[in-house]
């Protein structure tokens, strides 16, 4: 994870197209400018960045399922729950599943666990839109970097 660059997903652990589900893994960095403010002497990953992490796992899932035909943009966070603190060096298992595929939008449920212990979860909704200029190439590079294979879908 590179928190300050919003680069939240390190690698894909599993992608099961038939179940419309993905599990990714991320390791919280030991140090980050984010921890200088949140909080001095008591570093914790902000809930908003955990939400972003769940959104990115969901986004990669949607990209893989739609074969990079449309770009998902987060449009709603519902029922978000943050159950415990996340500290530096924690290894996060971030999972997401597609719960509804609408016309021009999609809904997922996502959660983060550490060693099987629930950390946070939320229901997320995404608007699916044509790729803005150059973003498709960026997403292709990110997907390759985390080891996701959209062809498997």
């Amino acid at each position: 994870m590179r928190l300050e660059y919003f680069d939240m997903i390190d690698q894909v652990a599993s992608f099961v197209p038939a179940e419309k589900r993905i599990v990714t893994r991320s390791t919280v960095p030991s140090k980050s400018p984010v921890f200088e403010g949140h909080f001095p002497g008591h570093p914790l990953v902000p809930g908003v960045l955990l939400t972003e992490t769940m959104a990115q796992a969901s986004g990669y899932l949607l990209l893989a399922l739609n074969g990079l035909s449309q770009m998902p943009f987060l449009m709603m966070v519902d029922k978000a729950r943050f159950r415990t603190f996340v500290e530096p060096d924690a290894v996060l298992d971030v999972s997401a599943e597609l719960v509804h595929e609408g016309s021009g939008y999609a809904a997922t449920k996502a959660k983060i666990t550490i060693d099987g212990k629930p950390i946070c979860d939320a229901e997320l909704r995404f608007r699916l839109m044509p790729f803005p200029a150059d973003m498709r190439a960026l997403m292709e590079a990110r997907i390759a970097a985390i080891g996701l294979n959209p062809e498997a879908a």
Binding site: M75, E101, G102, Y105, A107, R125, R127
Partner: protein
């Protein structure tokens, strides 16, 4: 009024915080009720779930943008409800 309209009106009222009495079958979702595209996706999600269908919003939007269909055909509520009934019937067939 139809059961479909009652369900749709309840969804719009709850999703967009619009008083139920302001929502009539002749209401235009955009022009009369002021529902924007993001809020309409919210409504579509609730309608999809309530009726077990998939509103073809992208197709409708394209038809309207290309001048192939008037917006009223899809966004006046009595017409929207007719489309929903058609989609439910097609799914059951």
């Amino acid at each position: 009024m139809s059961a479909t309209f009652e369900t749709v009106a309840a969804i719009i009222s709850e999703t967009c915080d619009i008083p139920r009495e302001k929502i009539t079958p002749q209401s235009h979702a955009i022009d009369d009720l002021g529902i924007d595209s993001l809020a309409f996706l919210d409504i579509a999600f609730a309608i999809d779930k309530a009726f077990g269908i998939k509103l073809p919003l992208e197709q409708w939007t394209q038809e309207v943008n290309e001048g192939k269909a008037p917006a009223e055909q899809y966004f006046v509520l009595e017409n929207l409800c007719k489309r929903i009934d058609d989609l439910v019937a097609a799914k059951a067939a």
